[in-house]
Symmetry: C2
């Protein structure tokens, strides 16, 4: 017989999921009701408004997809793109590569604009690609690359897209709620995110939003969307503004309670305050990491406050450090992905995880583990440096 | 400002979601850990074994898809079917129609075998279709049609498929855990289910299982699976048996805790005991419904114990009855779907909802509401008839 599973209690400072606020876990466990219950429909309407607040948009088609961020990505590509079309994909990490896969699986052609892993997308190269391929229907890029901790200049890139009369597709899985993101002001046409990063909700849902221009592109489709489950026109029959909702699929009722609560918390704090909090905890972490003599993969102006790619000397065994932190401190930090495996740690300060206690705990634990492994550093100097940042602000 | 959402407490006796056992809601709200945490990987291994138990299979590729039942359906079709292929689809309700959509969106051709809504799939017609279309690569049907409450003879239909050297695809969204289902003994090649029906877990996950023959078909694909998110080969890199798991997408961690607990509960009760419980509560409900002078859409041998399509006189206003039950008794029963809208109610007795208290509550509430609406029936006679069934067994 298999027994009930009781997870260990961790502090989640990896690339997501982040620590979930107990208020959200409590909301998650409220009694399940029907997905067509009038009380539930009312909650869905609030959820759309809360997502519009978080995305800073008036887009009517702003909903959570009933599956994780990768399904949100697929929702955007599979609805917008038809076979034979051309899409410019900017890649500077793992998730640009996944966009390329999506474009190909839609039967379309990706035009790749490559940048170094750890560097932002170069707007000059993007502009050149738009000029060379005036027939591209969209340009896609990752706002906050979870694999490298780099921010790209979404405002500039979307401006280029608009001038080229091209749709902009933005991966905001790690940016939503953590750094400035302005869907309407920047003119983003299609965007997707995840719930388990800076919203600090449980993993499993993907907020998406489509501009009116993107919706028009979907309406003009000649072919059916290849996914029935992710077909936005059908999904909107359930989430749409009409009084009578049509059943499409059974919504993940309890996960939606949790997302509702996560967004209520965000609204209580205020979006700009949340960005400010992420920036402050990042500054403190940076001070502590630098006091330990470690450096960052990403140049200062492009660093994501919510995801810190920390470089370490070859002499340190990456896996040993991380399993030490997990086993002795219940602290999860992330490994490098792809070409950065074994070269960086990814320290997340996302959402509820982004707080002073976690910054201190992480610096102390990491410093202690590194010291015992022969790396010369002073954990208490690191926390002193971090706390000086809080005192100065 | 939008406030936290507190759902009403309902009794869920519609077509799903069903009432969720409080043990499962509590498991759901346990602290989130990372999707690559060794403790989580251990839980995933147990989850696969528990699903094999529920499906009665040794299939290695037995996992929960990170999205609702419709995505499970799409996982099966999109992985097994390539463009240009031919699939026989048996339709006797809404969900056979959704299978047809799936086949078409894979670029394949559905050969339809139609039966009345409320009747089971006719094996004679299925056999004829297999003979007429020896090039069909699969035959697909719904084991338990949620739109009509009818069971089809999965064992016979899978036997026909095997003899025709054709794959069998089975929709078990509403059957898993509620009636006999034998994946290995019946030779089912691909099957998908939902969590919010007879497993009484929260909605949002879809258990699937593929036979070795189905896996071989996937391995021989000439084209890539059109969905990256649902690509079984990639998903298996994360769920697979290898020691080193590769990140694919972020698993819905807390929902998987809940499914684990739901299956632990099923295992504690015993699968056959669960089937027996569903049968007994169904018998009691039938006695009560008949005592009220109402009848059933489906002929007795093909009725699903977990989903009862009850016919009502034209004189009754369907929507009024259901909103009366919801508003005054917090009781949800289901409306008819598609051609059965306004013609039947769908009364679910699924999983944790399938119990004597619910049978009594439903009969009493329904009888009282019908009486106040001018339909001549005696609620207490209905509950007496139902309780006689329990006493006699």
């Amino acid at each position: 017989m298999i027994a009930s599973f009781h997870p260990p209690v961790r502090t989640l400072m990896g690339p997501g999921p982040s620590d979930v606020n107990p208020r959200i876990l409590e909301a998650l466990s409220r009694p399940t009701i029907g997905h067509l219950d009038p009380a539930f429909i009312g909650m869905m309407d609030e959820l759309k408004r809360l997502l519009q607040y978080a995305f800073r948009t008036e887009n009517a088609l702003t909903i959570p997809v009933s599956a994780p961020g990768s399904a949100g990505m697929e929702t955007v590509f599979t609805n917008l793109i038809e076979p034979g079309e051309k899409v410019i994909v900017c890649q500077n990490g793992v998730f640009g590569g996944r966009m390329k896969e999506n474009v190909e699986r839609c039967g379309a052609t990706p035009i790749m604009v490559e940048d170094e892993w750890g560097a932002p997308v170069d707007p000059g190269k993007a502009e050149q690609a738009l000029n060379t391929h005036p027939d591209a229907i969209a340009i896609a890029f990752v706002h906050a690359e979870t694999s490298t901790g780099v921010r790209s200049d979404a405002e500039t890139l979307c401006g280029l897209a608009r001038r080229a009369d091209c749709l902009s597709i933005v991966d905001a899985v790690t940016s939503l709620g953590g750094i400035q993101l302005e869907v309407d002001t920047w003119g983003i046409d299609a965007i997707y995110s995840g719930t388990q990063k800076c919203l600090s909700c449980i993993p499993g849902l993907s907020p998406v939003s489509f501009s009116e221009k993107a919706v028009q592109k979907i309406r003009r489709r000649k072919s059916k969307v290849q996914s029935w489950f992710l077909d936005a026109s059908l999904v909107m029959g359930y989430w749409g503004g009409e009084t009578k909702r049509a059943y499409h699929h059974t919504a993940p009722v309890n996960s939606l309670y949790a997302l509702h609560e996560a967004l209520v918390i965000l609204q209580e704090e205020g979006l700009e305050n949340a960005w400010q909090r992420h920036a402050q905890n990042h500054a403190a972490l940076v001070a502590g990491i630098e006091a330990m003599g470690l450096g960052f993969l990403v140049d200062k102006p492009w660093r994501l406050p919510q995801l810190n790619a920390v470089e370490f000397p070859d002499s340190l065994n990456d896996a040993d450090v991380r399993s030490n932190l997990l086993n002795h401190y219940n602290l999860e930090i992330g490994a490098g992905l792809g070409v950065l495996a074994g070269k960086v740690w990814r320290i997340g300060l996302m959402g509820f995880s982004s707080n002073r206690v976690n910054v201190n705990q992480c610096l102390l634990a990491l410093g202690t583990v590194l010291s015992t492994m022969g790396y010369n550093c002073d954990p208490s100097a690191a926390t002193t440096a971090a706390n000086a940042v809080y005192s100065s602000q």
